[in-house]
Symmetry: C2
Subunit: 814 residues, 2 copies
């Protein structure tokens, strides 16, 4: 390993160029401080009074000057080299910086005409920041040029790498705060540089901003020996270019040189890779060492050095508002005025409050402005996904339960075609689980991307490809979010239990989608689609730690307008559901489906109809003749299997009992139409579920969620839900359902216990069910496998002939 240059020597800036850059930097700082503090007197036309100051000071100064410096120099690079770049602020709480630069570039006034580019506009800009009815304090969806809110730390690099994918000419500048540096998701996302294909992807330029402090502590990377930090960053695979100082003129020279050097390196790597594109797949080039910048400047740089005699600049005390009593404390207010004046606003804004032309000219033009770059407003660039009718992949189903398929395996062929038909705008993401989740058919069409060493033994691994696998759910999620927010399409396939790892990332994405719904200038982006498989009922081999269906519960807490949950019960319904989700916009779609061989229940047309309705009566399964005595409902593939097996036994042994069988694919149909756009009306719900008959509901996840969705329904008191009640271990599949009382035998018992007046035959059947459960348990413990009468069970193939007939040994229960 050659040691990286730790400091660049040349001083590329002429005196006038330096002055210009520093003017922009001063202007950005001025507009940032103004936002944090000023209600009025935006141009300091008179001495500041208490009334000029906001009553509540909400904002973060500490990181802001660093962000302004970086933005300033990215603009220089863009202008000088016509670079297509976007800007992601890891320390997104430095919102004033992003807003200030968007304002100086003119974009802000274009997007929000009420905030003009003159003195009135500047005053309005200042006032609205962190002000009721105004804009948030972070780099929020409301901020032009942003795809990264930054309030929750850790995701800036994964977002950035997602944005860079399939954007060969894009430079994604990603500022990593040294506090954020300590988070887990950020720590591993450095390795995303091993998944970049320089022939088709753009580049991420990480800028680690070492300002030394968090809210109340020094940061780890600032307090380890610098050579150790460089060793770490080089170990992450980067060429490190260091810029360090506190004298703006000096730092400007260093930073300009660093940007040039970084961009030279980027172009050299890309040129080489793209020139040799064909040969890349044959011989193995060395993995590129992409550049990064280590920027070391004081926290709260250019702000108050000391306040009330205490050091503020360069310490954690500069994190939020360095001067906290500017409304009531004259000394503080005077210091604020001095601080603002230090940027010499008179030289930056003309008499009308407009940015002077010489500074304005330093902004890039049109969509080259990072605040106006359409890549940071992906809905502008998004094209509909090309996807064939799901029926082309559907499995033939002659009769319910007459055939067996692995739902995700069949879906894999659909994904392969989507990859083929959307070669530059669709990727599949997952933590080393694509094959495990039976989506391997996608490798007929593409490969997994890996820029590291590839050995002959590796399968489906190449420097180029459409499948992104890293054992980090955080990175997968961040990649996909970045990819979607820049206008493309994707799918995240994950073990159900471990999607909880990204609960908090989901929260932030759902909040982003919800906020942007109300921003006309941000057209919708593609939905974020989860395929959760290897689910709770089929983790019998991995045991309790892998058994958790609670992500659905987590998701439904977010705004109904942006979340959808689907539980397709078989292969064709999975295909129909996925086709719908993948083509949809601006939702988070959660689809839960198993990967193991399972019965097919519906053919393609039936599946299409059923999924369109989202919930429906399966007439072939029930015998209610429009007047049920009991409703058996299911949601999820395994609950549906058990519920159908229970129904079959009831129909065989209690043929006079009128059963309605309902399957729910779209979980949100259960909710009230006033609560969720997909919700059924009370009338429709009552028609389906009756107003007074017992409903035995077999549900995939935690049972109380069904109650939470239906508690206002007329028949809620008669609803009895079985689901996962946190019982599990390493065992057999049927033992898993028995442990949670959602097995066929227990569902029969539930029906018998809740339908009045069934008589002695039912009592006998009930006892037989109790015996069957005991026998199944004993068999399993003796043989280590499920009992044959369960394994061999299937729904009758000749529904018309004998609708209740079952194969297997069900006669034993008579």
């Amino acid at each position: 390993m050659t040691p990286s240059r730790t400091r660049t020597k040349p001083k590329p800036l002429s005196k006038s160029e330096l002055a210009g850059l520093n003017a922009w930097f001063r202007a950005a700082n001025y507009v940032s401080v103004g936002q944090i503090y000023l209600l009025d007197n935006a141009l300091l036309e008179r001495d500041l009074t208490a009334e000029d100051i906001k009553p509540r000071l909400l904002g973060h100064w500490g990181t802001t000057p660093g962000l302004n410096l970086i933005y300033t120099h990215l603009n220089r690079l863009i202008r000088q080299r016509d670079v297509d770049a976007i800007f992601l602020a890891g320390p997104g709480h430095g919102g004033p910086a992003a807003v200030a630069n968007a304002y100086l570039e003119g974009t802000y006034s274009e997007v929000y005409p009420s905030i003009g580019d003159d003195g009135d506009g500047l005053k309005a800009l200042f006032r609205q920041f962190s002000f009721p009815g105004g804009i948030p304090s972070h780099v929020a969806p409301e901020t032009p040029g942003s795809i990264h809110e930054g309030g929750e730390l850790g995701y800036v690099l994964s977002h950035a790498y997602g944005a860079a994918m399939d954007n060969p000419d894009l430079v994604v500048a990603a500022v990593v705060g040294d506090g954020e540096f300590e988070t887990g998701p950020l720590a591993t996302s450095w390795h995303a540089n091993k998944f970049v294909d320089p022939t088709v992807d753009g580049v991420v330029l990480p800028i680690l901003h070492l300002n030394g402090y968090k809210i109340a502590n020094p940061t780890v990377p600032a307090r380890i020996p610098r050579p150790e930090l460089i060793s770490l960053l080089e170990g992450y695979g980067h060429e490190v270019i260091t810029v360090e100082g506190d004298d703006p003129a000096d730092v400007h020279q260093q930073m300009a040189a660093a940007m040039d050097q970084a961009h030279d390196l980027i172009r050299a790597i890309q040129d080489e890779a793209r020139a040799g594109k064909r040969s890349l797949r044959r011989k193995q080039p060395e993995r590129p060492r992409w550049p990064m910048i280590l920027l070391v400047t004081p926290k709260g740089w250019t702000g108050p050095d000391k306040v009330d005699g205490v050091q503020v600049e360069g310490t954690w005390r500069a994190h939020q508002v360095p001067l906290s009593e500017t409304r009531t404390n004259d000394k503080h207010r005077a210091q604020l005025q001095t601080w603002l004046e230090s940027y010499d606003p008179g030289s930056l804004f003309d008499d009308e409050g407009r940015l002077v032309e010489s500074v304005r000219a330093l902004a890039p033009v049109g969509t080259r402005r990072m605040s106006a770059n359409p890549h940071a407003n992906g809905g502008l660039l998004r094209k509909p996904l090309t996807i064939k009718d799901f029926r082309e992949y559907a499995v033939p189903v002659k009769a319910p339960g007459g055939s067996v398929n692995e739902a995700t395996k069949v879906f894999g062929a659909m994904v392969a075609d989507i990859v083929r038909d959307n070669p530059e705008s669709f990727r599949l993401f997952g933590p080393d689980e694509t094959e495990s989740n039976r989506l391997g058919a996608v490798y007929d069409a593409t490969t997994k991307v890996f820029a590291g060493e590839i050995l002959p033994v590796d399968e489906h691994l190449a420097h180029s490809g459409r499948v992104m696998e890293m054992l980090s759910e955080h990175t997968c999620q961040g990649w996909l979010e970045g990819y979607l927010l820049t206008g493309r399409h994707g799918l995240f396939s994950c073990y159900e239990a471990f999607i909880h790892i990204v609960d908090s990332m989901f929260n932030q994405h759902a909040k982003w989608l919800n906020t942007t719904r109300e921003l006309d200038w941000r057209p919708p982006v593609s939905s974020l689609n989860y395929l959760l498989t290897s689910h709770v009922w089929r983790q019998d081999h991995n045991g309790f730690s892998h058994q958790d269906p609670g992500f659905i519960d987590h998701v439904v807490n977010k705004k109904a307008e942006v979340v959808r949950v689907y539980l397709p019960p078989d292969t064709n319904t999975l295909l129909s559901t996925m086709a719908h989700c993948l083509a949809s916009k601006h939702y988070v779609n959660v689809v839960v489906a198993g990967k193991q061989p399972q019965f097919d229940w519906l053919d393609a047309e039936q599946a299409a109809d059923h999924c369109a309705r989202g919930v429906g009566i399966w007439d072939w399964a029930g015998n209610d003749e429009g007047d049920p005595e009991v409703v058996i409902a299911s949601a999820g593939d395994i609950p549906t299997l058990e519920a159908l097996a229970a129904t079959a036994m009831l129909r065989e042994h209690l043929p006079e009992l009128r059963i309605r069988f309902i399957n729910v694919v779209d979980l949100m149909r259960l909710q009230d139409e006033r609560e969720h756009p997909h919700g059924l009306s009370d009338r429709d719900f009552d028609t389906l579920f009756t107003t007074d008959k017992p409903v035995i509901f077999a549900y995939h996840g935690y049972p109380w969620l069904i109650h939470r969705l239906t508690y206002r329904r007329t028949n809620h008191d008669n609803l009895h839900v079985r689901g996962y009640k946190e019982e599990g271990t390493t065992t057999t599949p049927f033992d898993m359902v028995m442990m949670n009382d959602i097995d066929r035998y227990h569902l029969v018992i539930d029906v018998i216990d809740r339908v009045p007046g069934l008589g002695s035959r039912a009592a006998q059947l009930r006892q037989n069910m109790v015996d069957a459960r005991r026998r199944a348990k004993e068999w399993t413990r003796e043989h280590g496998d499920d009992i044959p009468e369960v394994k061999d069970w299937k729904w009758a193939e000749e529904v018309d002939g004998d609708p209740a007939a079952t194969s297997g040994t069900s006669a034993d229960f008579a």
Copy 2:
């Protein structure tokens, strides 16, 4: 930086010592393979038949031989140097290894007498693994010597560092799988070495096991140039000792030398630090570079090289069961037999199936066995927390609302005393938020630990201390779990929204607690206590990304026996609640409380009574005289404030309306007593909430949770809940509650809308409330602050005199 030794040269093992170690290694491998495959014929007394093989092969071979190698050599170190050590397997799916070694050490038979140390015991051990009614496939709670299940990857180092804290003589060997290496939580947890105090803490010895593959992919660290990986690990601050090979004899020599070298380094660092203990705080020693081992061996090492002509050993194909058809495929079965015989079981077990004495003698003795080390069964070592009566910290409360305190700030003094009174067994954990969460009083008693450079400007920062702050919720959670599972006490203080970052870690810990409840040999450990502050209603400065109360929803999905949720409404109730939680055992306690100045409602005795009941009528607030027309209920500090303000207005303007005011501290009281041990009986619930009167419930979090907890209650249909409905931004506190319709004015409207026959005065009051909301909104948007009539409001101080009197401008509403 001096370059690390990348390979150790000496061959420390004599021929007989080598043979002994290899015999243990063979025995462990044999017992591992036997667990995965064999139902019977445990000692290969005859050729394997189909019936000898388990019908379902559930287990992971790939990582197992590496774990066995490491265990073997740790045992050598323990024996030779009398080291006190525990073993954490990051790749916890290699459960067979942990079980095998515990069995060979004799611990397994001691803990589970039904699994004897003879041939029958060996057969039973094999059979039970991953078998219904048996034991899980991972390093589960059932495994003696384990504090780390390892099913969910990423937490082994943070657990290990938590275990090492305040255990000065302990060596925590932590195996990091190279798959796990890619996860975010693991990636940052390397930096936990900057928070070790060598004077009082034990040491973590990380062993990065590079076996090259995950489920279906090469691993990142295996496919970057080795110098780059070394640079990364040195950048993490470690001295790296490399062991690499595939010839057991050679690897044994290397590994023995590496262990010696690592332990020499550890002792040198500790000796130096402890010798100079006093001077440590004065002058700054260089941060120690702790050793780690990089172990490179093939995946599935010593297993089948090829199967059906395809390479298996050294590839991802060895991840689970290398021979998958051993029951049905004679060739596979013969290969399994050859594989098992390769370990020469005849030389390892005597005629009765007992481990031969020469091998048995290689195990450490008694509690030096890692499988029997009490540190890995923390309930054995746990001593009750020393904690003073909370009343010593209570604030005087003359009348409800008569004083104002910052609840967490007052609680800080209690934490300070707990630190003083439990100097070696209590720590406070948090991601850079202790000061922000107003717990700064703890610094009267202690400091934050940081082993990096400390500057004069730093406050409360030292090489020794009780406060653990790193900007990684994952690391904080892992530390605390490791600390608790080894028998100590702790508290995690966190912003409410960002505790979702550890949702999945909470899941795993709750599952661990739930499983160990049923293991008699594992006494309970201290509860895991969360203090969630800077909560949803008081993140008006950070905005939408910081507003999420859903962790409660997440927690209540886990087994009722291990989860508790508390919402203390004021300072004294917070003190009472925390005292209870900190002293409790084997729960996860979630406490949500604000850090901002808030009214006190209850004095110490009232708080004690109220918290003991968990829910109660506040007679002083209501006027129902035992016969309410409406119930106003609250849970959470801000909802309680709004609900009381609403009650005051109603009592002033509709004095004839009989209102019952109920406050809920212990959320689980709402649930049915059959669902949760804290649940109220239906009778008690009905007595409190009535069976037929409207209940207006102001709740801290997502409102539907209250419905989910109460849907079976008699009066549920009359329950109307207000809470956070995912509306938020940067604004004022009162605007936040208005945005979510949980403000005092809206609660009054809710009451008027639901109590029949209130007449025209109520109609007028309702209109006044609508006007008040509009006026409050306008005021806020104009002034950037909350309206004075809200800011100045307080509950009457003279409750007896005029219970409904309020200050402020409430008369406006008449």
